[in-house]
Symmetry: C3
């Protein structure tokens, strides 16, 4: 194996992990405290606010959804990225590393922007903050998908540090300043994360990546592993889109809408995948990815009264668009635009995310009191305080504006961070050594065992 570049990360990776983790401890010590629902003073708080039962602690509204989201982040994204034949360790392992760092940094960044208590300048955290931290990290994991197999873990840590930072800012602009709604993050998470990753991948373009082409594919069992990721994302997506939705009908409706959109996009994905191949044979890449497009596209409008059949239509279209993306856009982008997108995040996150933002804007603009009820309309769009007099048409405009903010942050942020990641100090692999776990992992059986046991390969072969 050629090792043209220095991929030694024995200093840089431990240094980054240690220093940043110590920084987290210090910053948490200065800024982060329990909120009133996770503090031992909760019992006094309950009495003061006349809360009759412990169940009214937000924990019981959101914890089941939180755990589902948590599974999506670590098993869903992680195993979806195990599909490459020799990069399964890197797929699930680096996903684990950067998510574990990112959630800490996200608690701080999102806390400073959204939850800073002005009395004592502390961030008070509870279960909703944990969910939002997971959400924030999802955008960086999406970005990782474009770079899978081509970057070092140190680069991924940098990508996550800046990604979380950018996320917190754009989220603040979209949700607080523009007062757009985006419960499942079509814009804030998916659109931003995808354009962030794609732009980084564009800056890091590798002209000779074809030298690693023999590893840029799956083997039979790696495709089955990836289906674990796909299915846990698919099954728990209703929890993703409802996790921070309004208590009561808000969460309930978000689940129904997402469930339906996802089911619909499975059928159109299978249809387009089959029609595109000789003999109608299905392509695992499509099934693993485009089936999820309905969940992405339902992220913004999941709380709205989009109607059950409206959700089916959203899933129908996004499944088609996403599968076509894998068939035509990914090769085109690689050849013409010089964007190498390992997991096809443009098809799974960028396009369905944009669809989701547009659907959200349209659905908001066409909301009415006759459908929502007077109180329902106010509750759903939070037309209170500063925006008490906003009309649904104006809300639709702000939703659309939010979409552009997400895209702009992705493009500009990705260009900046891509530039940083281009520095020759991060230990990334040579073009001929991409998609290979052997670069960053002690891969057990190849080097060591082969020399130790002459007959060993024959042995596993028979016993696989």
């Amino acid at each position: 194996l050629k090792m043209a570049k220095n991929t030694n990360i024995r200093i840089s990776l431990p240094a980054v992990c240690f220093v940043w983790q110590i920084a987290m401890i210090i910053l948490f010590g200065v800024f982060i405290r329990y909120d009133e629902e996770s503090d031992t003073h909760w019992i006094e708080h309950r009495r003061k606010k006349n809360i009759s039962t412990n169940l009214e602690n937000d924990f019981y509204y959101r914890y089941p959804s939180f755990q589902d989201v948590h599974v999506m982040i670590f098993v869903g994204f992680g195993f979806l990225m195990t599909f490459l034949k020799r990069y399964s360790f890197g797929g699930v392992g680096f996903n684990f590393l950067i998510a574990a760092f990112g959630i800490q940094w996200a608690l701080l960044m999102q806390g400073w922007f959204h939850h800073l208590d002005e009395n004592d300048w502390k961030i008070k955290i509870g279960v909703e903050n944990l969910i939002n931290a997971d959400f924030c990290v999802a955008s960086c994991l999406i970005a990782y998908g474009a770079c899978l197999g081509k970057v070092s873990p140190v680069q991924l840590m940098v990508l996550t540090l800046f990604g979380v930072t950018l996320f917190a800012v754009e989220e603040y602009i979209i949700l607080e300043l523009l007062h757009a709604k985006d419960a499942g993050g079509s814009m804030v998470i998916h659109t931003f994360g995808a354009y962030y990753g794609l732009t980084i991948s564009w800056v890091l373009y590798r002209p000779l990546l074809s030298q690693s082409r023999h590893l840029q594919g799956s083997v039979y069992h790696s495709d089955v592993f990836a289906m674990i990721g796909t299915l846990f994302l698919w099954m728990y997506w209703p929890s993703f889109n409802s996790a921070i939705a309004d208590h009561g009908d808000g969460q309930h409706r978000a689940v129904i809408n997402t469930y339906l959109a996802l089911a619909s996009s499975v059928l159109t994905t299978f249809a387009i995948s089959s029609i595109s191949q000789n003999n109608g044979k299905l392509d695992m890449v499509h099934i693993q990815n485009a089936t999820l497009a309905g969940g992405v596209a339902m992220g913004t409008a999941s709380e709205f009264m989009i109607t059950p059949y409206g959700s089916l239509i959203v899933g129908f279209c996004s499944g088609i668009v996403s599968t076509f993306g894998y068939l035509f856009l990914t090769p085109f982008m690689e050849k013409t635009l010089k964007i190498q997108d390992t997991c096809g995040i443009h098809n799974l996150h960028a396009m369905p995310g944009v669809i989701g933002g547009i659907v959200g804007a349209i659905t908001a603009a066409s909301a009415s009191e006759s459908v929502y009820g007077q109180e329902g309309l106010i509750n759903t769009f939070d037309f209170k305080d500063a925006v008490a007099n906003r009309t649904v048409n104006i809300q639709g405009g702000y939703q659309a504006a939010g979409l552009f903010v997400a895209i702009a942050f992705g493009l500009v942020g990705g260009a900046l961070v891509g530039g940083i990641l281009k520095l020759p100090i991060w230990g990334d692999p040579a073009d001929a050594n991409c998609f290979d776990d052997d670069v960053y992992w002690e891969v057990c059986c190849f080097h060591k065992n082969k020399s130790e046991h002459g007959l060993f390969p024959f042995f596993i072969f028979l016993h696989q």
Copy 2:
């Protein structure tokens, strides 16, 4: 590889997916609406009904169980069917496809029979409908188990279309007309689904299936994949049997009973598996399947006061019966009755389902006010309105009648649908091409990579 039959599904599969999905959209547009707990008018509804908290929304009673059931349907059933050495894509992939279609069709069919609002002829859906749709689809996935590897995805879609239809009718007869109880679906789901699938498999009998015998087995890692399915089914079965049980003690008791029955059937499965082989070696097929028999057999009586030791006895017996089925009945049925049952659903679903129905009938007939309490008896069996005066003995009789309805629907429905699936238009594989993903999937490494990279097979071999 011989390709005696035309397995080209490039027209038929996309056509079925597109047309049926569009039909779903139209029918949802006409019939399906949010129910009052998932509609923005929930806040007005709360006030009107004097509901003090958002937590009383049924969502918070049932959503955690729903997500567990959802995992059982897609990962549980899907991965249980990955055990074949070269049919893992088809096992988990087609399971995904037909479940995604089936849940939509089930929302309509079950809605028309159970939830049609007579004021506006709309079906109002909430989280309980989503659970019931997942339940309904489970019966078709069970039926798929008998046909695994021998049918085309188009046939599976047809099997699901009719299976869901038949399910909705028999469920209506059993639960509404006979007023039988079946919270976990021993009769309605497992018995029906198994006989439906077995009868289809009998109609589609393949005399020369031994030509595919070299693929009708597992490899080491495919057996480990299947254990993912087994365990997620096993772990979440308490949620399955309690998901639509009564709020409060009903759900609580269903969980305890199912937890115990499952634990018990694990021990008897290991015992029978070990005693049946030289040196007491265990057979993975038994462990993957018969350990679940306790959950199936506890489906009907899970809500009843069957007592904890009663649950253990049910699990004890069903584990034994199921394992004996794999040892003796499956080979017998294949040779003598011409029923080829790939996954052994007769052992896992048919027999334990029938046991569950019988146990339910006996437990109901022996219920008493001294054990249940006066109110408890009424609540558990819903002795209200039209059946306010029903005695427990009569209830036991109706339970038994329900079991026969489930079997009859399975046999007659399976014969009819089997006849339809025998038409030579569905693209099913030849007897020599069964259990082979290569027929319906682009299997990555075999054809393409072998030609491109002469050394590639040697490479993965060393690196597996």
Copy 3:
């Protein structure tokens, strides 16, 4: 393959499974009943106690956490033990068997010690008992980790029978007599379980185990399977540490603390793993195990006001200690202390468990009314009834005493049970046949298919 010892378990395993399961049924019949929240009399109980809603049934507080814990026990522990190249069946399969037996025996043992109703001498069970049974079994699964691949399933059943028994006694001493707090079981579960298993492994020392060295390692895909176990343990650990914590802020805070400690230990694990190898290459063994140390070490203090940054510090240190353990202590213990620890439970459970006990003692001793509030302090430490006047310093002392009890029970109990397991009647494998599924399982493709299909191995090879 040499078969020096008699590993035939065709009589012993079925006998143990049958006899013990029948004993369970009898003992359950005599002792176990539904508690008032899972009994049909719940509706009368509600009225009597003036409970306004079904949601106040403990089921709704704890069921989501219970299911997460259940997944940890069966998929988490089970798949973590699939990492060996030829012992995946034994890893996940025997874990399944002994957990299914152990939870039944635990319901009885824990019931007799903690939940025996003095009026009728019955044990009344509900969802909290199910969680505690899962917890109890976890200690035996930890002990299994030290013996993985070296013992027969019959030995594991014996290990579990005595392990659960010892657990119930030490738990009673620590939680009831000493009134120590240990919500997530750093002491009661992890410390006890680890020393129990290590002592057994020490008694069963195999001087010629190097004869099986060629199987004591992983292959590529078995390492990916093990990551399924790792991640489900990691993701659901917040549920583990909060499952039986106090309603309201107790559960809420335990989740936050555990979430943070786990995130922190991921980063230090990656750091130490990288710094210890040439080129900074990561070792999958570390990533699979030491990343979990934060969860173990947060078991005792998870309910306390340890502060978010305190949790990060605990995770930081335990990740380092655990990874160093894998690097230096495991080889040292094997060579010098004659303790063969297949999974490295000393590093993942023993040391982090002890850390957790110490952290718990310190945190308790430094608790104060100014931080906890007067009521909060009483609620958190249950300073009521017999211990109403206990100070936090004394509580800290009792916490430390609890840690010693856990260690002592592990060491003494392990020595006794190890002695029993040394008897030459249990069918354990010879030193040259360890880590080999072929001893206790019908491994499909090796013996049978090779003879039947001469070309078969070549076939799977191309298609893997």
